[in-house]
C-alpha cells in the first residue's frame, strides 16, 4: 500500500500552525483542524511576548 501524503493536525494554535507550515514545506498536504473560528489560539489573545515585548499578533 502506498503511503498517504496527507496529515491531520489537530489544533490551530502556535504549535499546530507551525507544524502545518513545516509539513506543507516538507511536501505534505495538511488538514488543520481548529474549534475556534480563527487560528492562532491563545497567542492571538496575547498583547506582547516575553522578553522582547514583540507584538504577539
Amino acid at each position: 500500500m502506498s503511503k498517504a501524503g496527507a496529515i491531520m493536525v489537530l489544533g490551530g494554535g502556535i504549535a499546530g500552525v507551525q507544524t502545518a507550515l513545516d509539513l506543507a514545506d516538507l511536501g505534505y498536504y495538511v488538514y488543520l483542524v481548529e474549534k475556534k473560528p480563527y487560528i492562532g489560539g491563545v497567542m492571538a489573545q496575547l498583547d506582547k511576548t516575553f522578553p522582547t515585548n514583540d507584538c504577539a499578533i
Binding site: 498517504a4 501524503g5 504549535a15 499546530g16 507544524t19 513545516d22 489573545q45 516575553f50 514583540d54 507584538c55
Partner: protein
C-alpha cells in the same frame, strides 16, 4: 453588524460584548464573520434572520448543516494546546467576588491596544486607573489541592511581561510580584528578567499569598516571607497568574486517538521520545505534551513535522498543490509611476496619536500619487484584499504603506502585490507606528508632522523603485551535521530517515557526547540504553556517513550549495551539502572555589551520577550530602541560568535517598527551577526528607575543609542563624558552559549570544534557524537544556534542514548587490569586507572585477557603502532611491506646502 443578539466577547475574556455574528479580532484568519450557534436566534429559535437579509454578498445560508468528513491521512498530530484552570481555584482568591481580581488573560486584553479598553489599564470595578498592582503566581500550578502538582513553566515570564507592559502604559504604577521561585530558566530569560526588574523597579517578593481580602474596594494581601515575618498591604488590582491546565477535552481526544494520558491529563510521552504518543503514527506537540512557552511549542511543532515526515517519506509530494501567481504586468510596471498610498490606523496604535486622515490627505499632494486611502488595520485579511482591489482598479504600479515595521509586515504586503501581478519590489513602507505614534505618544502634532515627512520620503523613493528578479538555485540533497551527541545523532537519524544523505562529524573518537555521562533520565529511564540504541541506529543507517575524530575546517557557499572541508586524522576531505546543522553541544562548567579540585569529597552533579551508577556501596560512609545550586551560574562565571541543574539535583537527591534512605541530603538553592512535571520530583524529594534551604547571592554557602572532612557554612533564613553542616559529600550544580563556539561562529558567520551560545534567528518563532540560511541549530550549542528538550529541538532542526532538501530549489533574496563591471576598478575592498563571502574577484580581460554570488548575498549593503567608485548598487536600495529619499527629507524637498502649513 446587524445582529441583534449581544453576547459576551470571549476573545476579550468577557470584558466586552460582541454580537452572535462577529469577527473576533481584525487580524483574525480567516477574516469572515462567524455566527455563534449557541447564541444565534435563528439557529436556536427559528426567528431573526436579519444578517442573512442584510448581507449584500448573500454569504449567509442557514440551510447549511454540519457535515462529517472522512479524511485519509498518514499521520495525526495532536496540538490542542492547553486548558484553563478551573473556576473553583480562582474563586479561592476572590475571583468573581472581587471585581478587581483579574486573571492574566484578562489583564492581557486590558493592556492590549486592540482590547476592550483600547489599551487603557483600568480597574473593572470603577474604571479608574490602578496605582498599585500585585501579581500572584502559581494560581492552579504547583498546587496539589487542585490536582495540579506541576509547574506551568510560563507564568513567571508572562507575569514579568505583563508587569512591564503595564509599566509602559502607566509609568507611575507600583507593581509587586509574588513568586515562590522565580522561574525564568529560558534562554536569555534570566537576563531579561533582571533588566525588567531594574528598569521598572518591581517589588519582587518571595512568598505565596494564600488568599485575597477586599476592604473598601482595595484588595488586601497578607503573606509570610521565608524569615517568618508576616506582612500585609493593599492593592488596587490583583492579577492572578493562572497556570496551564490540560485541555478540557483531553480525555475525548485520547479516546478518539487511542493514546494514553499522564496523571495530569496531559499527553503521555517519555524523555527519550518526547513527541511520540503511546500510539504509532499519532504524535504530539505544544502544551498538550506538557506546559511550555512559545519557543518550546514552536520547536516541538517543527520536531513533530520531522517525525511525520520520516514516517511518510514515500507519500511525500503526492497530494500537494502549488500556488501559482499571475504573470507580472511588465507593461504596467514600466509606465510612469502611479503610486498608491495607504495610511494605517493600526486600531488606536497609530490613530490614537497621529492624525491619520491628515497624513492621508497630505499624501494626496505629493507628485505621482494616484490613489490615497486610510485603513483601520492594513494587515487584516479583508484590508489586504481591498488594497489589492484598489491597486488593480486604479492601475497603480507602486505602493506605499504607512503603518508599522517592514521587519514584521513587509512580506505580507509584498505577497499581496505578487498575487495581483505586481513585482514585490515595487513596494515601500513608512513606519509611522514605531517611529511616530509610539515614540512621540505625548506630542501628537509633531508625530503627525513626522509621519508626513516619512510618507513624503517613502513616496520619493517609490517613484524610483524598479522590479527585481527572483532567481532560484538547485539544492545538493545532502546534510552535514556537526556534533555526534544526543542532539546531533537525532538530527542525523531524522534527516536520513526522511531520505537524505547525512554526514555526521564528531570531534571525539566516539559518539554520545554528554549523554555518555548520564545514568538515568529525569523520568527514570536508563540513559545508557537510550544512548546504545541511538548509536546502533546511527551506525547501521545506510544514509549516514559517520566521521569520528573529525573537525570542520572551512565552509563556503550558500543554502543549497555548501562546500565544506573536514579534517580527519591529518587529512582533509571536501564535502558538498545543501544544509548544515550545528549540534556541537556544550559542557559541564568546571567551577573555581568551593574546594572543588582540592577535596575529593567535592564533586559536580555529573560526577555524582558516575558515583550513583556504582550503587549503594559508593555511599557506605556517607551520612550528609550537601548540594549547592547555581555554582558558577546566574552571575558568577556564567551569566545565564543553566535550566537543567535544579531538576538534575532533585533527581540525584532522590536516587541517593533510594540507595540509602538514612542519608541526609541538603540542597542550597536560589530559586528551585523544577519547571513542568519535574515539580513532582521536587515535591517527592521534600516528602522523602531532602532539606531545601534558600540562599541569596550576598550570602552564599561556603565550603570549608576541616581536618580530613569538609563542612558547609551557610545562613539559614528560616532560623535566622548561621549554620554549619559537616558533609561527607558536597555536590556542586555547576551548570552548562558553551563549547568552543567562537571558531565555528567565525567559520560559519553565525553570531553567538553574550553567553557564548549560538544565536537563533528569532527567539520565539525561529528557534532552530540562524541568521545564515541553510544552517540550523540544536542541542546544548543553542543553550542549556535537558535531554527531552534537546531531542525535540534536534527533530525540529531536522525538519527545518529537510525543507530545502525536499524542495530541491531555493529562492534567492531579490535584494542583493549588483556590480557595474564597467565602473568597477577591481580594488577588492568589497570582497574583503563582505561578511558572507558573497563577493568574489574574477578575471575580466586583464583586470580583476568584483562579482556578486547572488545566492550568498544577504543584501546588507556593506559593499555598496564602501565602494569608492559607487559601482555597487543594492536592489531596492539603489543610490538614486536613497538620495531621493534623503532629498525629500530636506526642507527644499518638502516644498512650499510644508512651509505654508507651518505658518
Amino acid at each position: 453588524m446587524y445582529c441583534p443578539r449581544p453576547i459576551a466577547d470571549v476573545y476579550n475574556e468577557r470584558l466586552d460584548i460582541t454580537r452572535a455574528t462577529h469577527i473576533d479580532f481584525p487580524q483574525a484568519i480567516p477574516t469572515s464573520y462567524y455566527i455563534d450557534p449557541k447564541a444565534c436566534l435563528r439557529v436556536n429559535y427559528q426567528t431573526c434572520n436579519l444578517c442573512a437579509q442584510t448581507c449584500t454578498a448573500g454569504a449567509i445560508d442557514f440551510s447549511q448543516k454540519p457535515k462529517n468528513l472522512k479524511l485519509k491521512v498518514g499521520s495525526v498530530i495532536l496540538a490542542p494546546g492547553f486548558g484553563r484552570v478551573s473556576h473553583d481555584v480562582l474563586e479561592k482568591f476572590g475571583y468573581g467576588r472581587y471585581p478587581d481580581v483579574v486573571t492574566s488573560y484578562e489583564f492581557e486584553r486590558l493592556t492590549c491596544a486592540s482590547g476592550p479598553t483600547e489599551g487603557h489599564l483600568i480597574r473593572p470595578s470603577d474604571h479608574t486607573t490602578p496605582k498599585k498592582i500585585a501579581f500572584l503566581q502559581c494560581i492552579g500550578s504547583r498546587d496539589v489541592t487542585c490536582d495540579n502538582g506541576y509547574c506551568s513553566s510560563v507564568c513567571c515570564m508572562y507575569a514579568i511581561k505583563e508587569a512591564s507592559v503595564a509599566k509602559e502604559h502607566e509609568p507611575d504604577l507600583d507593581i509587586s510580584l509574588f513568586f515562590m521561585d522565580v522561574r525564568t530558566q529560558g534562554k536569555g530569560f534570566d537576563a531579561a528578567r533582571k533588566r525588567a526588574e531594574e528598569k521598572y523597579g518591581f517589588n519582587v517578593i518571595r512568598a505565596r499569598v494564600p488568599k485575597i481580602d477586599q476592604i473598601d474596594s482595595q484588595l488586601a494581601l497578607t503573606w509570610t516571607t521565608d524569615d517568618g515575618q508576616s506582612h500585609s498591604d493593599l492593592f488596587d488590582m490583583v492579577v492572578l497568574s493562572v497556570g496551564l491546565d490540560a485541555p478540557e477535552d483531553a480525555h475525548a481526544i485520547a479516546d478518539i486517538a487511542g493514546i494514553e494520558l499522564n496523571s495530569y491529563d496531559f499527553c503521555k510521552t517519555s524523555h527519550g521520545a518526547p513527541l511520540s504518543t503511546t500510539k504509532k503514527g499519532v504524535y504530539v506537540a505544544g502544551a498538550f505534551q506538557g506546559p511550555k512557552d512559545i519557543p518550546e511549542s514552536v520547536t516541538q511543532a517543527s520536531g513533530v513535522a520531522a517525525i511525520a515526515s520520516e514516517l511518510l517519506k514515500e507519500g511525500r509530494g503526492t497530494q500537494t498543490v502549488t500556488i501559482t501567481y499571475p504573470e507580472e504586468d511588465k507593461a504596467l510596471e514600466e509606465e510612469e509611476p502611479r503610486i498608491g498610498v495607504f495610511v494605517c490606523h493600526c486600531g488606536v496604535n497609530i490613530a490614537g496619536v497621529v492624525d491619520v486622515k491628515a497624513v492621508r490627505d497630505y499624501a494626496a499632494s505629493l507628485p505621482n500619487v494616484a490613489y490615497y486611502e486610510d485603513t483601520l488595520y492594513s494587515c487584516s485579511q479583508d484590508a489586504l484584499k481591498a488594497i489589492a482591489e484598489k491597486v488593480k482598479e486604479n492601475r497603480l504600479n507602486r505602493v506605499v504603506i504607512a503603518a508599522c515595521s517592514p521587519r514584521t509586515h513587509e512580506p505580507l504586503f509584498q505577497e499581496t502585490l505578487r498575487s495581483i501581478g505586481l513585482n514585490p519590489a515595487l513596494f515601500e513602507m513608512a513606519n509611522i507606528r514605531d517611529q511616530c505614534a509610539w515614540v512621540h505618544a505625548q506630542e501628537p502634532e509633531e508625530a503627525t508632522q513626522k509621519s508626513k515627512d516619512l510618507v513624503r520620503m517613502a513616496v520619493a523613493k517609490a517613484r524610483l523603485l524598479e522590479p527585481l528578479a527572483q532567481p532560484t538555485v538547485d539544492v545538493t540533497p545532502k546534510a552535514l551535521v556537526l556534533g555526534g551527541g544526543a542532539a546531533g545523532m537525532t538530527v542525523a537519524l531524522s534527516i536520513a530517515d526522511q531520505g537524505f544523505e547525512t554526514i555526521l562529524v564528531e570531534k571525539s573518537k566516539e559518539l554520545g557526547g554528554n549523554l555518555r555521562k548520564l545514568t538515568w533520565t529525569v523520568d527514570g529511564q536508563d540513559a545508557r540504553k537510550i544512548l546504545k540504541d541511538l548509536i546502533k541506529k546511527v551506525e547501521k543507517h545506510p544514509k549516514i556517513d559517520i566521521m569520528l575524530e573529525a573537525e570542520l575546517e572551512s565552509t563556503s557557499g550558500y543554502v543549497g550549495n555548501f562546500t565544506s572541508t573536514v579534517s580527519k586524522g591529518g587529512k582533509t576531505e571536501m564535502v558538498n551539502h545543501g544544509v548544515l546543522v550545528i549540534a556541537t553541544g556544550g559542557e559541564e562548567h568546571k567551577p573555581k572555589g568551593y574546594c572543588y579540585g582540592e577535596s575529593r569529597q567535592v564533586v559536580t552533579q555529573l560526577e555524582l551520577e558516575q558515583k550513583i551508577a556504582k550503587g549503594k556501596s559508593a555511599f557506605k560512609t556517607t551520612k550528609n550530602v550537601v548540594m549547592i545550586q547555581c555554582v558558577g551560574s546566574r552571575g558568577e562565571d556564567l551569566q545565564h541560568c543553566s535550566r537543567l541543574c535544579c531538576t538534575q539535583a532533585v533527581k540525584n537527591a532522590l536516587k541517593i535517598k533510594e540507595l540509602k534512605p538514612e542519608t541526609n541530603v541538603y540542597i542550597f538553592y536560589r530559586d528551585m527551577r523544577t519547571y513542568g512535571f519535574a515539580e513532582d520530583l521536587y515535591r517527592e524529594a521534600r516528602q522523602k526528607g531532602v532539606i531545601f534551604l534558600r540562599y541569596t547571592p550576598d550570602q552564599k554557602p561556603e565550603v570549608v575543609k576541616q581536618g580530613r572532612g569538609i563542612k558547609v557554612n551557610a545562613y539559614d533564613r528560616l532560623l535566622g542563624e548561621d549554620i554549619s553542616i559537616p558533609a561527607n559529600l558536597v555536590v556542586l550544580s555547576t551548570g552548562i558552559a558553551p563549547g568552543e563556539n567562537e571558531n565555528l561562529s567565525k567559520l560559519l558567520k553565525v553570531p553567538l549570544t553574550q553567553e557564548g551560545f549560538f544565536l537563533e534567528a528569532h527567539a520565539k518563532l525561529r528557534p532552530v534557524e540562524v541568521a545564515v540560511d541553510g544552517i540550523y541549530l540544536c542541542g546544548l550549542a543553542h543553550g542549556p537544556k535537558g535531554l527531552e528538550e534537546a531531542v525535540s529541538q534536534a527533530k525540529a532542526a531536522a525538519a527545518k534542514a529537510a525543507i530545502p532538501l525536499v524542495k530541491g530549489k531555493v529562492a534567492v533574496e531579490p535584494i542583493v548587490s549588483h556590480i557595474d563591471k564597467a565602473t568597477c576598478i577591481g580594488c577588492g575592498i568589497c570582497a574583503t569586507l563582505c561578511p558572507f563571502n558573497a563577493i568574489q574577484m574574477v578575471k575580466d580581460g586583464k583586470r580583476k572585477k568584483a562579482e556578486t554570488i547572488t545566492a550568498s548575498c544577504k543584501g546588507c549593503g556593506i559593499c555598496a557603502s564602501h565602494c569608492p567608485v559607487l559601482a555597487i548598487n543594492m536592489g531596492g536600495f539603489t543610490d538614486e532611491e536613497i538620495f531621493a529619499q534623503i532629498h525629500a527629507f530636506s526642507p527644499e524637498g518638502c516644498g512650499e506646502e510644508l512651509e505654508a502649513e507651518k505658518k
